[in-house]
Symmetry: C2
């Protein structure tokens, strides 16, 4: 099946590039509200499910045992920009479990935030694992390992107790059996999950529907800390942060590598999973904004604010308007 | 027409993302040697035709009048990394025409080279127009304007004498009538040209076939300076530089924004034009490497060296091998 073109890149009135993809929006029973393209295809959810990967941290009581604050819990769900307060927060999480940054196994990369990267280059000349956008998730895994009383050294391996807990939550929420994990950018397993099952997982995450009470409470708490601390989930000027600042707890959105985007619309009882075929983040962002604009009742002022993401203007190095991204009719 | 999948992104043995596109390889008569996808579609060639845009600079005698060196002429064809010697070379080009960097109208952006960007951030805190990857092309346009004795202030506008000269060369080489320019990232016009006509332009650029003698000589000189100075056409570790270092004057390759790639195989009399539908540079690079591997007789050692670009291994932040790019059977 060939997925439909969902986003066109316009330059000078002509289509310059095009992005195909699939979109699944489902209710808590898993019934399709919107299905574009092959929603049965298994996809690697990558970082789009970090909030689900953080569920055992909360549900187990580990987060409370170590007194993790709301912004620290948001960091456990984050692809953060490596800005100073992100890095400091992750270091605090580790310290609360009696660990230091050497326990992190996510690998090092320069901060996603360009100002943060420049400042770091000037200060130390090299990034550490704390600056990895996944370091908060890893710190959460380490807190869970410590609270479980297991050796934390191999917390990233698929067979480790921590990843087995994560897998069980993902299977419960998605209703899919998870097999044959690949290795994510930060070395933890990423399991292929059909797109419609991912959407179902987020419908449940967004509502607690069908979940045991402790799990539903963990989901509600993670949604709340992300809604209240959107800067900690991404960073300055980023899509997830800005859209959450705009719409608050009415939406939960989380980006992932290779054109993944997941989300929940709790008031509507809907879950969303988006995969851009070619892996383009610019397209998955426009698609997510279009899905939100289609389903969420928006107040005056919210619609134009969301348009900045749904149909961004493209400007060149002189600031001239040279084109735009445009979602296609398939997205309505 | 739906273009075929040309490149797959593999993770853990599964296809994670896919890139569609079109490829035209034609001979000097414009006959198709390879046609994948819609090769009649007009595309914006972007920076992939910088060498063609530099033709009037040489053909007019302006390059000789100002005594431009080979590396400076290579910079006129470059999407350079903003590394120190790139920036110095562009400043020299301007000085030779009696100008300074304030004449550049390409806009400023941080060097494409990360080390150069970090060093610049530390030194001055902001990039200038010299660091724009197109600054060499713009310096070439300015030299041409000065040599023509026309006001250089608006050299970037479609109606300016410089851009009219460029357009005439593009129409001559491509055999296409150019209309309705859009605005490129550096503000000069980018005209839509059918992919197969772009390939034909590069077959002529690569051989001089069908061109008047002065134009054929200009093409040969630009090919030679790029083959001899590949670092000046891109920069440290970049595809165009590394592939040219590997194969020398047997290939001419030049990348452009939004998944464009053009090239010539002079010994074989072939021109190449590639457009990745979604604009991904990682895919257009793999496609170009695959086209070269298919047509160019390679010596022992050259094939594995080229494989690094045709089928690059994907590693994560810990250096673990997590997948690869794979060109599909369509590319042979």
């Amino acid at each position: 099946m060939t997925n439909p073109v969902l986003v066109e890149v316009i330059r000078g009135g002509m289509v310059e590039s095009r992005h195909r993809g699939a979109v699944a929006v489902v209710d808590t029973a898993g019934a399709a509200v919107l299905a574009l393209g092959d929603v049965a295809q298994p996809v690697f959810p990558r970082s789009a499910i970090k909030a689900l990967q953080a569920m055992p941290l909360v549900e187990s009581g580990a987060a409370d045992r170590y007194g993790l604050s709301d912004d620290e819990l948001a960091l456990a769900c984050a692809s953060h920009g490596g800005e100073p307060a992100h890095v400091d927060g992750v270091a605090r999480m580790l310290a609360k479990a009696g660990l230091d940054p050497t326990a992190l196994r996510c690998g090092a990369h320069w901060p996603l935030s360009q100002p943060a990267a420049f400042a770091l280059a000037q200060k130390t000349g090299a990034p550490s694992a704390l600056h990895n956008n996944c370091s908060g998730k890893h710190a959460g895994f380490l807190c869970l390992a410590c609270a479980m009383g297991v050796d934390h050294a191999d917390y990233w391996r698929p067979e480790h107790e921590v990843q087995r807990e994560v897998r069980a939550v993902l299977e419960n929420l998605s209703g899919a059996a998870l097999e044959r994990p690949a290795i994510d950018g930060c070395s933890v397993p990423t399991w292929p999950i059909p797109l419609q099952n991912l959407a179902q997982a987020f419908a449940r995450f967004g509502t607690g529907s069908g979940l045991l009470p402790a799990r539903a409470r963990a989901a509600a708490r993670l949604r709340e800390v992300c809604a209240q601390n959107p800067w900690y989930v991404a960073g300055t000027g980023r899509f997830c942060t800005e859209v959450t600042k705009l719409l608050g707890a009415r939406v939960f959105v989380k980006t992932g590598a290779e054109g993944m985007f997941c989300g929940a619309l709790p008031d509507l009882g809907l879950g969303i999973a988006i995969k851009c075929d070619d892996g383009a983040g610019r397209a998955s962002e426009a698609i997510m904004a279009a899905v939100i604009a289609r389903f969420v009742p928006l107040a005056e002022g919210e619609r134009p604010a969301l348009s900045r993401f749904r149909a961004p203007t493209l400007r060149n190095w002189n600031g001239f308007e040279v084109g735009m991204l445009r979602v296609t009719e398939a997205l309505g």
